[in-house]
Amino acid sequence: MIAAHLPAIQIVAPLLAAALCVLVPWKRVSWGIAMAGAVTAFAAAVGLLSRVLGGEDIRYALGGWAAPWGIEYRVDAVNGLVLLIVAGIGVVVTLFALTSVEREVDERRIPLFYGAWMLCLCGLLGIAITGDAFNIFVFLEISSLGTYALIAMGSDRRALVSAFRYLIMGSIGASFIVIGIGLLYVETGTLNLADLAERLPALYGERTVLVAFAFLTVGTSLKLALFPLHVWLPDAYAFAPSAVTGLIAATSTKVAVYVLLRFFFTVFGVTYSFDELSLGMWLLPLALVAIFTMSLVAIFQRNIKRMLAYSSVAQIGYIILGISFASVTGLTAATLHLFNHALMKGALFLALGCVMYRVGSVHIDALRGLGRRMPWTMAAFTAGGLSLIGVPLTVGFVSKWYLVLGALEQGMWPVAALVLVTSTLAVVYIWRVVEAVYFGEPSARADSVSEAPLRLLVPTWALIVANLYFGIDASLTTNVAGQAARALLGGAP
């Protein structure tokens, strides 16, 4: 009985939690409600993914209104995986938020904070699960509005400016997406993604479809921070409260990538996107430039949160690179990296959250000599950094491996070589931090700090352990990613 309604519970649980969080005046209670919502959503995501892996594509007519008139939720391997990432990270980061947020956010605003937090989570899950094009826009705006509010709650005053800038750019991106969806509706008369996929092949030559494709591509690229549309991202990540950075860095760009995958492969179809418009030719150079320049820029950042934010843009480049191959291996690599990057960046930002809790700064000078004072936090950061570089036995290695395989399969050995070369750039920027942390002389402030409390370390290490676990035994993730890639290339969702 309950199992049949899992897709609805997935969305309703965090949505209800959001409303309840705002109503209660006690910060611990509102956290408890948020946690309950996140755990329920995670349980639903696990249930959905296990059913999908059993070979069943789930279709759920919301409110009993059959598609294409009603809104339909559809789950296959692709969004099953995305749901699992978002809900899983949601639980871990909510656990982390309890202690971290009390330090960084104004006491009176904490219930409101959790309200926005759950809205953000609800929106992200909604984008992933829905099978209706306009519904994607609605959930996108729900999650974005939540994110703007969350970023603005950062303790640095620059958080306000970066939230405003993100709001402007995010809204333009969302408007582009609505225009694209509108043009598709005009041309086909349906908003259901599966119906769109069926009706579009007959209309491939139409100018309207081409324009819709362009608007959707640019709008989504803005949301996922594809170079050169990434300018909102570094400051937004750098000045948001630590827990918020952990949440949005690990989930929101990933969900935007999912939207891109859905439109490119399921709705428009690989023959239109990649054969007719040769999209790969456009995405490939953008991805390479993103990887190369953003890794370089990251090397020169002295605010470590901002450094990791630039590195995020570079990592998005790797995902887009995998997509640009439009092959099973390439898409497997992209989907894997979607999952793996969420794990590594989540872990890294949470480790920085621990530093922020104790030291009150994530500037590189503030981190000097912390290796002896906060050994567990810094071990977590180092492990996460190794994963980011792509050292064997970590998840980073698995996704780089598939990416290189994908490049070689296309006969693009220079691209494969570049992937390896740019990994050394990651070595440089991670090493800078590791050097300062373990070999630097501690500043007066750093000398007096102690290890972060267990309530922060446990979620951080949970993600690190996931990094190592899925790096050593990648069978589950590669299976799902492979199934997802084949589902995307197979056409129908």
Partner: protein, 134 residues
């Protein structure tokens, strides 16, 4: 191509570009927000225009002579779906606008100005102080 046929769409493009221009060129944050709102409004007009059919009536089923709802043949209805979608988009637009203005208020409280370049100066000063850009 008869002139009034595409008139709505020209208005849409005009409004969109006006909004976009204001968004980019104005340094005043409130003017930026107004530009953004114009931009979003143009999308609303676009959707509503697509639902209109010349000679179409409101989509309420019209009874035929025997009183059967929807029985009347050859009645042209306008498409209600884009209008309904835009109700949602209007709500989203209002929420975005409220959020943006709330941020502007907070920025004014913290920085004492809502001019982009003056805020940038202070942000730069913050960064120098922090040593972010040595």
């Amino acid at each position: 191509m008869e002139f009034p046929g595409l008139f709505n769409y020209w208005v849409v493009i005009f409004l969109m570009m006006v909004g976009f221009y204001a968004l980019i060129s104005r340094g005043n944050l409130v003017k930026k927000v107004v530009g953004l709102n114009l931009f979003q409004t143009s999308v609303i007009i676009f959707y509503v225009s697509t639902g209109k059919i010349v000679g179409g009536t409101a989509p309420i089923l019209i009874e035929d002579d025997h009183g059967v709802a929807g029985g009347a043949a050859e009645v042209l209805y306008s498409n209600p779906l884009p209008h309904v979608l835009m109700l949602t988009a209007i709500v989203v637009g209002v929420a975005t606008m409220a959020m943006a203005l709330a941020l502007v208020v907070r920025i004014k409280e913290t920085y004492g100005t809502i001019e982009d370049d003056e805020i940038q100066e202070q942000v730069l000063a913050d960064e120098l102080q922090e040593g972010a850009r040595p």
